[in-house]
């Protein structure tokens, strides 16, 4: 009898949680996309995008989720102004003509309660190509200032920029391979 009651209770709680899932708003001060590119096989160049926004929803019981993040490519920031200008030009992100960079992730993989990867599509230069972001770390905590749950982690992927038609400089030895490091924190709504 106890076992049956427990099972019924467990099932009803699980289905309630499944029906809820939760939505989180990206915290822009703790979310950044950093890119790394090898400069002539010597040093690594890093840059980030300062302006971004998005939402993430996920359901730990149902093992589903959706993430939508929009990045303003015009906010690219390497700390070298002349390089930022070049990256915003037609040679790279062409910010004058093209609105932005967008990632939509619709396949969340979980390792227990933790998100272990997010598969989706990355749109750059008007072209959409599948990418998978792998989680190196994932955690949820109660933020003492916001008094809300914050979930997030460190995600990474490596892309070949030519897949989006960003071909500049290959003949000069600039790399195709770009490593993306994504730090995310999102606040429960």
């Amino acid at each position: 009898m106890k076992k049956v009651l427990f099972t019924l209770a467990a099932v009803s709680i699980a289905s309630m949680a499944h029906a809820e899932g939760a939505t989180y708003a990206i915290d822009p001060s703790h979310t950044f996309v950093t890119f790394e590119a090898k400069h002539f096989n010597t040093s690594t160049l890093r840059g980030r995008f300062d302006k971004k926004e998005g939402t993430v929803s996920f359901d730990r019981q149902g093992k589903t989720g959706k993430a939508e993040i929009t990045i303003d490519a015009g906010s690219i920031d390497t700390g070298v102004p002349a390089l930022d200008t070049h990256l915003k030009s037609k040679d790279f992100f062409d910010v004058a003509q093209i609105s932005g960079v967008k990632f939509v992730g619709d396949k969340f993989t979980f390792d227990g309660d933790k998100v272990s990867s997010v598969a989706g599509q990355l749109t750059m230069l008007g072209k959409t190509v599948p990418v998978t972001l792998k989680a190196d770390n994932f955690n949820c905590y109660t933020n003492p200032l916001l008094k809300r749950e914050v979930c997030g982690g460190d995600f990474e992927t490596t892309i070949a920029r030519t897949q989006w038609g960003m071909n500049y400089g290959l003949q000069y030895g600039l790399p195709d391979s770009i490593h993306l490091l994504i730090q995310v924190e999102a606040i429960k709504q």
Binding site: S29, H30, T31, F32, T34, K38, H39, F40, N41, T42, S43, T44, L45, R46, R48, D50, D77, G79, V80, A82, L83, N137, F138, N139, C140, Y141, N143, P144, V150, C151, G152, G153, D154, Y172, L181, Q183, V184, E185
Partner: protein, 190 residues
């Protein structure tokens, strides 16, 4: 074995290439030299940033495995992508940049793995506190730069410090104690 090889090379080269025995000087290329930092936030995401203003000089004597490396970082040039955070980082709880405008790394001991610089053993000064620190190379290469038409040597160097060792304890443990320093550096031969 390595030392014997170097000795033989030095003896063979000295009469013809006396200049080789002297240290070679490189000036830091500021558009390809940055110090990036990483610190864990609430055990969740890694917060990344960098220091934009750096100066330095590098002298390498590959034959002797010696050198003189000196990198100065303007602590007020900290850049996290969040201006309000940069102001906090410059403050007394973190960089204390008003009292300590410069952080610096100096090293005289260089370790080579063949032609490749593999580590620098020196000292790091932050918030006016100096501690021994070794920078390990995850990458090192020299090339003749097609535009500059000069030798450029550089690489990626890494070290992890505990900020509490330098007197910065604010926010522990929510803002991590371990700060990973990633130095991308390129020097142009003078």
């Amino acid at each position: 074995m390595n030392a014997l090889r170097l000795l033989l090379v030095a003896l063979a080269c000295t009469p013809v290439m006396g200049a080789r025995a002297e240290p070679v000087n490189y000036a830091i290329d500021p558009s390809h030299t940055k110090v990036y930092w990483e610190v864990r936030h609430f055990g969740t995401s890694t917060h990344r940033g960098r220091f934009d203003t750096l100066e330095g000089s590098i002298a390498i004597d590959r034959d002797k495995g010696l050198g003189d490396v000196s990198i100065s970082i303007a602590t007020a040039s900290v850049s996290s992508g969040v201006p309000a955070l940069d102001a906090v980082l410059r403050g007394g709880s973190f960089l204390a940049s008003e009292a300590n405008p410069t952080a610096y790394f100096v090293a005289k001991q260089l370790r080579f793995d063949g032609e490749r610089l593999s580590s620098l053993r020196g000292e790091f000064t932050l918030r006016g506190v100096s501690k021994p620190l070794s920078l390990n190379a995850s990458n090192f290469a020299c090339r003749t730069d097609a535009q500059l038409k000069r030798e450029v040597c550089g690489g990626d160097f890494e070290a992890t410090i505990l900020r509490s060792d330098y007197g910065s304890t604010f926010g522990l443990p929510f803002v991590g104690d371990k700060v990973r320093l990633l130095i991308s550096i390129e020097g142009i031969r003078q």
